[in-house]
């Protein structure tokens, strides 16, 4: 049979060919019934979580060294900026649960403080977009609006106002989270800020040995104890057990460090502006045994990389 345009054979082959092509175009659409969520999970009754009091969180925020202070110290020590210390914004896609999101929101917040101190605006944009994404997912996006960020950016030089703005925004957010029974998220954020701040300080201490930075790191022993106590309240929530385990590891690295505070007489002196302020003459002696700092640096880096899922 000749294969002319009119013959039946041609038409049949044509139809078969087009059917073949069209069916090959089908995407990988398998009916994945494994993705169904059973009703027992969907309809289980919701449980109320224990709430930590406002005063506790406020205390915690006061004690945990602000990343801005830490960054100012690092900058004063003359250490140059290094991008390698920071958490990669692209890792944000790995954080699925609220636990991971809140914890890493704290981490990125600390990084933002570091970037702001060194005025690296181009890298700040990337971090801010990531932070915005995380806050939207946690449904606290209304606290990270443009005006707050602008205030933060314009008050670059003034350490006090930076700290004030960031702590007041954080307190507003914490109050809101408390209302919806989610104060575990604020605790996680503080934990994230703390671990990242410690990581930055230890990485710097690894390169440049200064007394102030070492002392500051040693002081974290106190904040760590407070933090672990607050985290233990949420022991039964998913993810917290693991985190507490990691922090206990860091705590054992800090154990050999001794901090002795000798209370002195307070005295009234004149500060730079000519105002009279009360100065506490406490003497703080920090003893760090040989080789302990290296251990702290190593365990902090390990825990932090686990937290950010590197």
């Amino acid at each position: 049979m000749k294969l002319t345009a009119n013959s039946v054979l041609f038409k049949v082959i044509y139809v078969l060919f087009s059917v073949l092509i069209l069916s090959a175009c089908s995407g990988g659409g398998e009916e994945d019934s494994t993705l169904e969520i059973p009703d027992s999970v969907k309809n289980a009754p919701t449980q109320k979580m224990k709430q930590v009091g406002q005063a506790v969180i406020d205390d915690l925020v006061q004690n945990v060294s602000s990343p801005i202070e830490m960054a100012a110290l690092i900058k004063k020590a003359g250490v140059p900026f290094s991008k390698d210390y920071l958490s990669d914004p692209d890792l944000v896609d790995k954080y699925n649960s609220t636990f991971d999101k809140a914890l890493n929101l704290g981490v990125y917040g600390a990084d933002l403080g570091y970037l702001n101190m060194y005025n690296k605006t181009s890298l700040i944009i990337n971090h801010i977009t990531t932070i915005k994404k995380l806050t939207e997912a946690l449904k606290i996006g209304q606290f990270f609006d443009f005006s707050t960020l602008k205030r933060l950016a314009s008050n670059n030089e003034n350490l006090d106002s930076l700290m004030y703005i960031s702590t007041s925004s954080f307190n507003k957010m914490d109050r809101y989270l408390r209302e919806s029974n989610r104060s575990n998220a604020s605790t996680l954020m503080v934990a994230g800020v703390w671990i990242e701040g410690l990581f930055l300080a230890t990485q710097v201490a690894d390169k440049v040995k200064t007394k102030e930075i070492n002392e500051r790191i040693a002081e974290q022993k106190i904040s760590l104890n407070d933090l672990i106590i607050v985290l233990k309240v949420y022991n039964n929530e998913p993810g917290f057990g693991e985190l507490i385990g990691y922090f206990e590891e860091i705590k054992s690295a800090f154990d050999p460090i001794k901090i002795a505070v000798e209370m002195g007489e307070p005295e009234m002196i004149e500060n730079d502006k000519g105002e009279l302020i009360i100065k506490q003459n406490d003497k703080q002696t920090v003893t760090i045994p040989e080789g302990q700092m290296e251990k702290i640096i190593e365990v902090t880096a390990r825990v932090r990389n686990l937290v950010i899922k590197k």
Binding site: C25, S26, G27, G29, D32, T34, L35, E36, I37, V41, K42, A44, T46, D93, K94, N96, S97, T98, E136, K139, Q142, E179, S180, N181, R182, P238
Partner: protein, 359 residues
């Protein structure tokens, strides 16, 4: 997924073919047609909703909180909306989470933007109690009370279980300190209601997520996310870059963020007009799935153009224009017939003849 994508594009293809046939039938020279094509295509591209959001159009042609009428006429808008909403809502992974995310988004909006706005309006009215009642204050109070009355009316229907007895007193005649106090109490109760809604929705969502991660591992979940969800589509249909998350207009509160989680207005009876990326369409008392509703609209357009094509209506209209201008230049009907005969109907065969002669 494959069938829906194919069918939507196929329907758009057929409709485009119909429009093309109409143009081809109505104009007698190829030059006219290929000059006309950009004129037809560019409004469809620009008003399809993908190039810019509709609130950037001038107020005189755009509508607040709904798709502007001029964009409703563009088939590209219907097809685009159908595919975007379908891909976001009904992909294998999201369809397990969509309902709970919708509840969460609704409760969150009410708590963070809606109720504070209503409370602010109430505060503004209460401030005028101590001032002298001038005309302008009366007008402002009137519009504020209208807003409160409209919105609380809707909430009484939707937020079942939160009662408000003074609803009928929300007008300038009956409104006084007592009603203001009661309204504030009601808004506080509404806030508690939505807080509870939000908390339970949030916890259920977290629990579902934990279930996946525990059963299949986090890597598998990330893989599924990459396979089925699209980040850019999520950003567009949730309108996350919108600055004004809430608008007050004409006695109504309009939600601008998360349009894909917002049900369309069901206050009109016939109107099916809604905002862009609405998950459901409302028509004559029934809610329809956006994807299939939009496809039906595309086929109605196709039918319309088919009728235009069959009865040569567009052609007759254009010829009609020709006679009108002739009429005004006072040419007699015989001369008109002669002129009509001399105009070549199709220019191409003449050109082909010329080519043939040359050979």
């Amino acid at each position: 997924m494959f069938f829906e994508f194919w069918f939507c594009l196929f329907s758009t293809f057929i409709l485009a073919g119909m429009i093309g046939l109409n143009i081809s039938q109505s104009f007698n020279s190829a030059v006219t047609i290929y000059i006309l094509i950009p004129i037809v295509m560019i409004p469809m591209m620009a008003l399809g909703g993908a190039m810019f959001t509709f609130d950037k159009l001038n107020r005189s042609i755009s509508s607040v909180g709904k798709v502007p009428i001029i964009a409703e006429l563009m088939p590209s808008k219907w097809a685009y909306e159908a595919l975007m909403v379908h891909q976001f809502k009904n992909n294998e992974l999201s369809k397990n989470f969509y309902k709970i995310e919708k509840l969460e988004s609704d409760a969150d909006f009410k708590k963070v933007y809606y109720i504070p706005t209503l409370i602010e309006e109430l505060d503004n009215i209460e401030k005028t109690f101590t001032e002298k009642k001038t005309d302008s204050i009366e007008i402002e109070n009137n519009s504020r009370l209208k807003l409160l009355s409209n919105e609380i009316g809707i909430q009484l229907r939707k937020a079942k279980g939160v009662e408000f007895e003074f609803y009928n007193k929300l007008n300038t005649k009956d409104f006084d300190e007592v009603v203001a106090f009661e309204t504030r109490q009601y808004l506080d109760r509404l806030n508690e209601y939505y807080t509870e809604q939000f908390q339970s929705a949030y916890e259920i969502k977290e629990r579902n997520l934990q279930f996946y991660i525990e059963k299949y591992g986090e890597n598998f979940y990330n893989q599924q996310k990459n396979k089925f969800q699209n980040e850019s589509i999520g950003e567009i249909v949730k309108n996350i870059y919108e600055k004004n998350k809430i608008l007050v207009y004409d006695g109504r509160i309009i939600q601008q963020i998360d349009p894909v989680f917002l049900d369309p207005d069901d206050t009109g009876k016939i109107g099916f007009r809604s905002h862009l990326f609405s998950p459901k369409k409302y028509f004559m008392g029934v809610y329809y799935e956006t994807f299939w509703f939009n496809i039906v609209i595309l086929w109605i357009f196709t039918l319309l153009f088919y009728i235009l094509l069959y009865f040569e209506l567009l052609l007759k209209m254009i010829e009609g224009f020709g006679t009108v201008s002739m009429f005004f230049s006072k040419i007699s009907s015989e001369k008109l017939a002669k002129i009509k005969k001399s105009i070549p109907k199709i220019a191409i065969p003449k050109a082909l003849n010329l080519l043939k002669k040359k050979k």
